[in-house]
Symmetry: C2
Subunit: 146 residues, 2 copies
DNA sequence: TATATTTCGGATATTTTTGTCTTTTATTCT
DNA sequence: AGAATAAAAGACAAAAATATCCGAAATATA
């Protein structure tokens, strides 16, 4: 569904948002720790997100990543777009060169409905609202397995 | 969503089914041609499908792949399971070690609904019925782009 | 200014997926 | 039996995704 990089990105964004209310910058180490991701790989992803202007960053002591306070809501689709691109929400489920109503693959009509539901989810849900649920303790970003 | 191998597998199965009514065996070359897939890679996939008993094969002249006539319907999920495994229809959308109602990731409730719809599709749809639609000209397995 | 901190950028390494090639084995036909 | 055909099996190659490392640049603090 999503690449690992994209999953890390989404979780990082949600975590960041859940801690960015204050004028707080979050370091790479903390992010990787809290979303249970490999630190150097996460660094690359954060670089991409920064270049795509989805997060801000500052270097140096007390530097780190943060989401501009008072910034407009960031929808999930924007994060997916930045990391994985939009192929998955528009492409054919069986890999035809283009998804088409007039020359559909065998599962087009069933598949495209589900794909559109996913697209809808990504367009509706925002990082901020998911972060609120996280803060409220209604969801988690990592699990402690014994 | 599905790996390329899995997409090739599904298309190969549907094509095979659409031609297997008669006691007809289909060669690798024809399959790869008709589903627009790399021949040697497709060979590997067909080997797997054969080992998993989803198709039969015979060697030698006029040999090839075929689906046992009068065999019970093959559901899409069986093909996906044989090639990609079931991780995607049961795993967490954000990569948590397990998908859980009690310790859900931020998108669990929306995501799992869509994932279950996909699972439902895979469990309902059979290779044979999709092959019928293909034969009826209602779908295609490859496109000719200029 | 000097030092410590932290991201940035580029190079490199590993793993997985995708794809290819060659030899062997089974089967059919002559 | 011998020749031709086609899949099976295993080794190999290329590409992409995932992950790591290190020096450079920026920033805060002393
Ligand atoms: S053509 Fe395959 S999903 Fe639309
Ligand atoms: S916990 Fe993430 S999808 Fe269920």
């Amino acid at each position: 569904m999503f690449s690992k990089a994209c999953k890390y990105a989404i979780k990082a964004m949600i975590y960041l948002s859940s801690r960015s209310d204050e004028n707080l910058k979050i370091g790479l180490r903390e992010i990787a720790e809290e979303i249970d991701s490999p630190e150097p790989f996460t660094a690359k992803i954060m670089q991409t997100l920064t270049k795509q202007q989805l997060v801000n960053s500052t270097k140096g002591p007390h530097g780190g990543f943060f989401i501009e306070a008072g910034a407009p809501e960031i929808k999930l689709i924007e994060v997916v777009k930045a990391i994985d691109g939009l192929q998955f929400v528009s492409g054919c489920g069986l890999g035809l060169k283009r998804c088409s109503e007039t020359h559909p693959c065998p599962i087009h009509f069933e598949y495209s409905q589900i794909r559109d539901a996913m697209l809808n989810l990504l367009e509706q849900q925002s990082i901020q609202s998911l972060a609120n649920e996280l803060q409220a303790g209604n969801s988690v970003l990592k699990q402690h397995l014994d």
